[in-house]
Amino acid sequence: MKHQLTVAVNNQAIAVERFLRVARHRGFRLTQLELQGHEELFHVKMTVDSDKPIYLLTSQLNKLVEVQSVDLHTLQQAI
């Protein structure tokens, strides 16, 4: 199932690498990515595809120090 997320992370290149790594490692295939840099934050809109429940990804992303917020747009899959 595909899910769209908007992730706000600190404006550091490593922060983006860090959460993309988590998505890949936890079994969520990236199908779309849009990144916009603002003064202090990157706003990243991403679409991922996986058979796994999306909370297995959002719960891991929320733990990352640089991630400020994770918004899920396919709410029916969230808990």
């Binding site: 490593i14 690498e17 490692h25 909370y55 719960s59 733990k63 120090v65 808990i79």
Partner: protein
């Protein structure tokens, strides 16, 4: 103050008294600042040894472990220890030197993208880009490593920043702000506890991380609920507790596994339903509802759904669980299971029986002693046959299962707790993985005791080859091992070899009576296996046992 001086100054001011490391080109300014500083540095003989010594220091005390390494290979050699600390939630600070800022990205000598490399094996990591950021980065690193669910944090510092004058900023106390405990979930949990007829407490490493042994024991004493432990939790449940069933899982005790399979309520206390614990997940505690207590919300529902979840420090959440006394028939059944499946040490034959040796060692060693393990059969025998009064007294590489962990971890534990006896139990395979650290023991006159259970095999792999690979013993024969007692003697460490059962008692006494380091080399039967065993894909009640195999 230079960046290098600031690193040392901040560590000292935060109460760090010991660090483990290995110098090299890109971290030379930090080693220069260390010269004469009130911070004791222990030179290991490999960066992996430094990493594991820092892990041993942290796990035996609950304090932050600190290690240093240089750029490139120095940092890559730390990776295994970082991964180990990540899997086992150990508070660790790794400081690595990096090539000068201007050289980064030019494939400079000893340059590796350490920040990129750190992503999968740290809780968080930094590369310091400006001298003015250094103080804040170090402060954050120490806070992140120790707060919430602990873990390893790496700080990579380019050489020019170590050499530059940097501003010193005042330490800003950071207070960990946990999410408030949900009263809705707490009510659900207490209702489940009240309804349960056959509850079991499934205790994990979180109890040690939260320093919550007292709170755990208060809960158990109130409820008299049977308790099973993960490898990392061993020692959390006090050994005198009447319903302590020891370790569960692949090599867990039969009573522990059967109790979990039969229970109707599983109270998971700082554990994560690891695959070595659950066996076939779909069949694990299949009739049980789960109350999950953990500080990390990502663990709840990751492997098994929870009917109620308490996301909080266990010190906070455990006292809030109400204490209904577990029903008497269930407790009587548990006692009968424990008696029926108690370990036996009446081993026939005259070879050294490792479980007997370890059990005797456990009964005779001081209660305050620390046992470190490597990974393999001996590690499971330690978990099965030794008892611990506190989880900081049993250091075993759990999630990562790293061979080579034991000897350097024992060094870290001995440095941290110089008054306590530290024993490392290893196998003839594992000990060779970080054998160079015998030099660190010698250099620092550390009285670490070493027990090698030598079956001249990579025993656990051999056991699986016997059981699941048609006896095709591919690359597990180590009959060309060196003479371990002679090897230790080269490092000034005395010891002895034993080969017969009637030598065990005297050898254990000699080990315990030794005032300095000592090596006990015990030759055991190469065909000895670890029982019981839950085969891959099976449920935990489908254990293979020694009795079945003999028949």
């Amino acid at each position: 103050m230079t960046g290098a001086q600031l690193v040392i100054d901040m560590l000292v001011k935060q109460g760090v008294s010991s660090v483990f490391g290995y110098p090299g080109g890109a971290i030379m300014p930090i080693y220069d600042a260390l010269y004469g500083a009130p911070l004791k540095h222990y030179l290991t003989r490999h960066e992996q040894g430094a990493g594991f010594a820092a892990v041993g220091y942290a796990r035996s005390t609950g304090k932050l472990g600190v290690c240093f390494a240089t750029s490139g290979p120095g940092a890559t050699n730390l990776v295994t220890a970082l991964a180990d600390a990540m899997m086992d939630s150990v508070p660790l600070l790794a400081i690595t030197g990096q090539v000068p800022t201007a050289a980064i990205g030019s494939d400079a000598f000893q340059e590796v993208d350490v920040l990129g490399m750190s992503l999968s094996c740290t809780k968080h990591s930094f590369m310091v880009e400006r001298g003015e950021d250094l103080a804040e980065v170090l402060q954050q690193a120490m806070h992140i490593a120790q707060s919430g669910r602990p873990g390893p944090v790496l700080v990579d510092i380019p050489k020019d920043i170590q050499q530059a004058q940097v501003p010193v900023t005042a330490w800003q106390s950071e207070v960990y702000q946990p999410t408030p405990l949900s009263s809705f979930e707490l009510d659900k949990a207490n209702a489940l506890l009240a309804q349960a007829k056959k509850p079991v407490a499934y205790v994990g490493g979180g109890v040690h991380s939260a320093d919550a042994q007292a709170e755990l024991m208060a809960f158990l004493q109130r409820t008299q609920m049977p308790a099973v432990s993960t490898l990392k939790a061993l020692g959390s449940v006090r050994p005198e507790y009447a319903y302590d069933l020891g370790m569960l899982g692949m090599h867990g005790g039969q009573a522990a596994n059967l109790a979990v399979q039969e229970c109707d309520l599983l109270v998971c206390i700082g554990a994560r339903f690891d695959d070595r614990v659950t066996g076939n997940l779909a069949k694990f505690a299949a009739n049980a509802k789960v109350i999950h207590l953990d500080i990390d919300p990502a663990e709840v529902g990751k492997r098994k759904p929870a009917a109620a979840s308490l996301i909080a420090d266990l010190k906070v959440s455990l006292p809030l669980l109400q204490g209904e006394l577990a029903p008497a028939p269930w407790r009587a059944h548990i006692s009968a299971l424990a008696e029926q499946h108690a370990w036996r040490y009446d081993y026939p034959g005259d070879k050294v029986y490792a479980p007997y040796l370890l059990n005797r060692l456990s009964r005779l060693m001081p209660d305050t002693g620390v046992v470190c393990c490597d990974v393999g059969q001996h590690q499971m025998w330690v978990a099965q046959h030794m008892r611990f009064s506190h989880p900081s007294n049993h250091l075993s590489s759990g999630g990562a299962g790293t061979m080579g962990f034991g000897l350097p971890a024992a060094i870290g534990a001995q440095v941290a707790r110089p008054e306590d006896m530290v024993i490392t139990v290893s196998g003839d395979g594992s000990i060779m993985m970080n054998i160079q650290e015998l030099a660190t023991i010698r250099r620092n006159n550390l009285p670490v005791k070493i027990v090698i259970l030598d079956n001249q095999r990579l025993g656990m792999v051999r056991q699986w080859q016997q059981l699941f690979f048609d006896g095709r013993y591919s690359e597990t024969n180590l009959s060309d091992n060196p003479d371990f007692v002679q090897l230790a003697a080269v490092f000034g460490i005395p010891g002895q070899t034993i080969t017969r059962a009637n030598e065990v008692d005297g050898a254990v006494d000699a080990l315990l009576a030794s005032t300095g380091p000592y090596i006990l080399h015990a030759c055991i039967d190469d065909k000895e296996n670890v029982w019981p065993l839950v085969p891959p894909g099976a449920a935990n009640h489908e254990m293979l046992t020694q009795l079945q195999q003999q028949n």
